[in-house]
Amino acid sequence: MSKIKPEDVDRISEEMRRTILLREGVGRIRVIVHMDTCGIAAGARSIMKVLMEELEERQEIKDVLLITSGCAGLCNREPMVTVELEDESPVKYVDLTQEKIKRIFKEHVMNGKVVTEYILATETKG
């Protein structure tokens, strides 16, 4: 390692940012993947893998947190993901596939546009 310059401190700190935000639990966007036995059986692990790959490819995004949770009580609609944007109510997506989650990532997580075709039908909300 050659001698460090003040700019290098900023650069290393920037490289560490995603990790630090994760450890602080600070994220503008939280993507919650419902796991549990039912979710995993329906393919939730592969949904998680896709999300992680998408994030790995986009190092510029620092403030997306991937969170796992247990069963949300809708086992027959798994795999399921909840996207929470700051200051907006959570959106639940159901019956996911790898293609669907890729689209959700691009449109909703990155660009803030809800993918209405995949969301949990409003009837269940009453």
Binding site: M1, S2, K3, I4, K5, P6, V9, D10, I12, S13, E15, M16, R17, R18, T19, I20, L21, L22, R23, E24, G25, V26, G27, V33, H34, M35, D36, T37, G39, I40, M48, L51, M52, L55, E56, Q59, L65, L66, I67, T68, S69, G70
Partner: protein
């Protein structure tokens, strides 16, 4: 750095490691690999999280879930439930004393919620052995700022304006100390970090070094730039192997990065440092003996001024916590820092809470917080619904503060006025079963053993006080003893050379001040109100309560308890050695002390 979805922060401070946290960390890594999660979940060892009483501790991020007392045998279940299925494991969560519902998140636990972290700002957040993680938390940015955009005078002005005072004992204003050494035009100059930490039971400084060694290195480099020093020493004790190892590693990493060495940040500033492992005596932490010890002579206090100077060169000695505050002050500014705290005492202070308290551990709180908040909120109160009696602050030569002063806002001046002191931040909580004369005796014994013996007032004075106090505990106290102790104490304070002797009478004087009636009961009535002093108490069994379960009979080491089964027992006073075991074991509270 590669992205993970979850970071498992495993406490790897000395206390948790002694409770097998390193084995837990390795078991977690193995189990995570076994389940194919190694690309998703990273296990990170950290320094002390502060809640050592419930260790080993792990914190799961980003959710901030707090798990306590984690054992290797819990790991496979934990990985399966939480990390694979996303379900939290309630049985490993913290439950507040007297309650039933566990609290999942660290930030909702009262112990953590009311703290304010500056010196411990990286607590539970970074792997202390990776400099990049320290930099990730804005590490070394303060040094860059100081070297590239501030003159040494400006750095000193900033530290002065912040109001930072020494965290190692006396509370001397740090900026003023630096300024006086900056003025000296004699080179080379030195900076020293006092990490001797001789107070029995204290571990504030050890924890800072173990958790965040770079914060100390960075602080010292900034101080060195300010006064014009080119070399620094970290003075610590051989009993701190983990702190030494992490500090050695941190120094090496800082050198590799060019953050120590020549021409740092290309500014022409040269600074390097090393570790000095001291002899471990309590008095070594006193500045003049510390300096003598580094010079290779017997550590013994010397007359001041002007001899706190290493090799007769201008030297600044500050405590670990003092140094760790410096980068935060330079980066955030004096104004930010000076808004925290009281009129005379700015910022925060790290305390170790110990003794009869539910949440024993290490805490950092803003100056001005009340003792009551510390003991009852953060500390969770006294175990077993016992009554609070006193809190001893300031280390072995500190003082005891009674219940009536619990609302005292904690700062340097108020603690001193109350007959105690800030010291380095030790706090020992005592409950109603503590005898204050016995407490004074305990600390005097420690101080007598640690006195270097150079001045007779300290050497003879402490021994004389100890003899009187011991007699009082044994029921041999005489009329006039209390007054004599007060006079003797004042004399020892006035005539001793170093801080050890000057403050040694504190434990006696403060207990006389607030618990004079206890001394009087020992002397006049030959009675120990707390039921502690062996010579003054008797154990007996209340026949109305005793069920004859015989548990005490079985555990008594001297066969002193006699009686028939299912009938009330009696204690044979000739055989009883007053060990107190029967009192401890009886579930019916039938054993009484009189």
């Amino acid at each position: 750095m590669k992205g993970y979805r979850t970071n498992i922060m495993v406490c790897a401070g000395t206390n948790c490691i002694s409770n097998k946290s390193w084995e837990v960390k390795e078991a977690l890594e193995a189990e995570i690999a076994k389940r194919g999660l190694e690309d998703e979940i990273l296990v990170v060892p950290t320094g002390c999280v502060g809640f050592c009483a419930v260790g080993p501790i792990i914190i799961v991020q980003p959710e901030g879930i707090f798990y306590q007392s984690v054992k290797v045998s819990d790991v496979s279940h934990l990985v399966e439930e939480h990390f694979l299925k996303g379900k939290l494991v309630k049985s490993l969560m913290y439950v507040p004393p007297g309650e039933k519902e566990p609290i999942p998140k660290m930030k909702d636990i009262v112990f953590f919620r009311d703290q304010r972290l500056i010196a411990l700002r990286s607590r539970g957040m970074i792997n202390p052995e990776r400099i990049e993680e320290y930099i990730g938390l804005d590490g070394y940015k303060a040094l860059a700022k100081a070297l590239t955009s501030m003159t040494p005078e400006e750095v000193i002005e900033e530290v002065k304006a912040s109001g930072l005072r020494g965290r190692g004992g006396a509370g001397f204003p740090t900026g003023l100390k630096w300024e006086s050494r900056k003025k000296a035009k004699d080179y080379p100059k030195y900076v020293i970090c006092n990490a001797d930490e001789g107070d029995p039971g204290a571990f504030m400084d050890r924890s800072i070094i173990e958790a965040d060694p770079h914060s100390v290195i960075e602080g010292m480099a900034i101080g060195a730039y300010a006064i014009g020093a080119s070399y620094g020493y970290i003075y610590t004790r051989v009993e701190y192997p983990l702190a030494i190892k992490r500090m050695e590693w941190a120094i090496q990493q800082a050198r590799e990065y060019g953050l120590l060495g020549e021409n740092i940040f290309g500014t022409g500033f040269n600074f390097n440092m090393g570790i000095f492992k001291g002899a471990g005596a309590f008095v070594c932490g006193e500045t003049t003996s510390l300096v003598t010890s580094i010079e290779g002579r017997a550590p013994e206090p010397r007359q001041r001024p002007p001899r706190t100077e290493l090799w007769n060169k201008p030297t600044v000695i500050n405590n670990v916590e003092t140094w760790a505050n410096v980068p935060a002050i330079i980066l955030e500014g004096a104004e930010w820092f000076s808004q925290i705290g009281t009129e005379t005492s700015k910022g925060t202070k790290v305390f170790s809470l110990a003794g009869k308290i539910n949440n024993a551990g290490l805490i950092e709180v803003p100056m001005g917080i009340t003792l009551r908040e510390m003991v009852y909120k953060i500390g969770g109160g006294i175990p077993n619904e016992k009554k609070f009696k006193a809190v001893q602050t300031g280390g072995p030569s500190g003082g005891c503060i009674p219940e009536s002063l619990l609302d005292l806002p904690v700062d340097y001046e108020r603690l001193t006025e109350a007959g105690a002191m800030m010291g380095s931040g030790g706090m020992i909580v005592m409950d109603e079963n503590t005898c204050m004369v016995d407490v004074a005796k305990y600390f005097l014994e420690f101080l007598r053993d640690e006195s270097c013996g150079k001045c007779s007032s300290c050497r003879e004075g402490i021994s004389a006080m100890l003899e009187i106090v011991t007699n009082i505990c044994q029921g041999k106290g005489r009329e006039g003893d209390i007054e004599f102790l007060e006079e003797l104490g004042a004399a020892v304070t006035d005539t001793s050379l170093c801080g050890l002797g000057q403050s040694a009478p504190n434990p006696v004087l403060s207990t006389i001040r607030y618990f004079r009636d206890e001394y009087e009961a020992h002397i006049q009535e030959r009675r120990c109100p707390a039921g502690v002093c062996k010579e003054l108490i008797q154990y007996s069994i209340n026949p109305e309560i005793c069920t004859g379960c015989l548990l005490c009979v079985k555990t008594c080491p001297n066969e002193a308890i006699v009686g028939e089964k299912k009938r009330p027992q009696t204690i044979n006073l000739d055989k009883c050695i007053k060990c107190g075991v029967c009192f401890e074991v009886c579930k019916f509270k039938a054993v009484v002390i009189t």
